[in-house]
């Protein structure tokens, strides 16, 4: 019961704080694609993978009083800053072990910019295509995408996969 909500709460708890719904969306997607137990359904939504289910789950966590949400302006656009409330922490205590310790990975993702995480998500979304076709798709979906960012995203993805393999081996 509410395990999926608990996993999202646990993620925010491990990250300490996540700024931006879009960032949260991308973080959960990337973690899901690298094998973390998130079950939210993602579909392509104009700019990349997006989960309506996750958006509503965030609202639900907020309405339960488990999430604190602060509105702020970040470079002209509105942004939401998320962290767990005290009752959110109590809620989370009931679900120990529902999400493995992903702190390192989560912090690594949280340090990146939203637009970089968007690019990583896009490449992961098209990862069943040959690399050239995936890059072509990325250019179609994101005008003005720089080649060096794409290369960095590829490096980032293979590093993610390594972290995860190492993590599971150690567990």
């Amino acid at each position: 019961m509410l395990e999926d909500h608990a996993r999202i709460a646990a993620l925010i708890d491990q990250a300490g704080e996540i700024v931006g719904r879009k960032k949260l969306q991308k973080m959960v997607y990337i973690l899901q694609r690298t094998g973390a137990p998130f079950h939210e359904t993602y579909h392509f939504h104009f700019y990349g993978p997006y989960s309506e289910e996750l958006s509503v789950q965030l609202e639900e966590l907020y309405n339960f009083g488990f999430l604190a949400e602060e509105k702020e302006k970040k470079s002209g656009t509105l942004c939401y800053r998320y962290r767990l409330t005290e009752s959110g922490e109590t809620f989370l205590k009931r679900y120990s072990g529902t999400l493995p310790d992903l702190t390192d990975l989560t912090e690594k993702l949280n340090r990146e910019s939203v637009s970089f995480l968007e690019l990583v998500s896009l490449l992961l979304y098209f990862d069943q295509l040959p690399r050239e076709s995936a890059i072509e798709k990325v250019h179609q979906m994101r005008k003005n995408c720089r080649e060096e960012d794409i290369q960095r995203a590829f490096v980032f993805i293979s590093a993610l996969n390594r972290t995860l393999t190492a993590g599971t081996a150690g567990a």
Partner: protein, 459 residues
Amino acid sequence: MLLQGRGPLIYEAGHPVWKKENNRDVVILTRSFAKLNEEKVFKDPVHRYIHVRERLIWDLIGTAEFQRLRRIRQLGTTYLTFHGAEHSRFGHSLGVYEIARRIIDIFKYRHDWDDSETLICLCAALLHDVGHGPFSHSFEKVFGTDHEQYTQAIILGDTQIHRLLEEAGDGFSEKVADVIGKTYENRLVVSLISSQIDADRMDYLLRDAFFTGVSYGHFDMERIWRVMRPAGDQIVFKLSGMHAVEDYIMSRYQMYWQVYFHPVTRSAEVVLTKILHRAKVLYNKGFTFHYQPVPLITLFEGEITLKDYLKLDESVIMYFFQVWQEEDDPILRDLCSRFMNRRLFKYVEFTKEILNHFEELAGAFRMAGIDPDYYLDVDSSSDSPYDLYRPGEEGEKQPIKLLMPDGSLRELSQESDVVGSITGKRRTDHKLYYPKDRVLALPDQSIAKKRICDLLHIR
């Protein structure tokens, strides 16, 4: 190359049939692009008539994969709440096609449309839901399937639909799949099929309102079409048409709370999910069914092929629910009887208080001999496949934009007080479902009964 190992498509009693010999390929290649000699129409309660002029569209409708949609209800378990809601995904798919066709006509008349995209767009409109299975949402929850992935697989895989699409040109099927997957380069085409106001939603809102018989949910679709304007990669709406758009948003809001998220429908969905879950658990435990679920075996084993998936429909599933009422497993038997005879679960609001005592509640159920894994569940708004309009403040989603007289664009809820007030207040809902009849049937001196009644405030 286009027709490897398969003969041409011929018509027998109005249905396309693949003929064995392979000597008229060239004829067929041109035929896909061809117009029908005579326009075909389907009578439709929402659009009056669905008009088909292209042979390709007509042929696609005739394929086995598309005809299968006749046996899948548009609204799943909603017929248990609104008995009129027996309409199928077949009718909806035709409706989306018809809306796309009419909007394209309007755009073409204003020279706002690239005609080379027309056939791709019409095919995508027609086929956007072709991957739906029986009671899709519950299936997805229990078996981890994804109907959008099956849509892609049907369009790109070894199917009649794929072969027909490829006859329209090399890579044509991929283009159609990309439009439906929302990764097609021409965003205008994508927006027509899937965006905050698209052909899909316009059709299902009106169709679902019609068949459920609810009196809200109507809006002036033709007025909306007339104020739609392509603007770069999205469709925007002239300010003068704002009230028609407001009506559409209100319709979405009403249908969401009154129909799509109706607690009785959700209860049926919970029971359905539990049946599937129980059947899967039993199968994996080696349980001997009186009625072997042969068509479901690969699904239970987690390796269903496209071919097997296409054999499933709601008639097949309902057959098993009907006969499983005679199985030896008391849980499966009872859940199936509940579904078939509409003895659904009752519900209470799932409050923080219940959340805090959930283990105790589940314990009391166990003590009373009612397995909480199958007879106690929370259903949340996030479990519904439908959504409400949201402005999408961080640009995660494309909002509805109004075209102002000075040419600038404004997000709808900024201009419309009506939309602003229903999008401003975010509302979520959680309910706890349980078999009240079983609880009430417990002996009065039962401690478990007293505990359950206290926790759920049953008097």
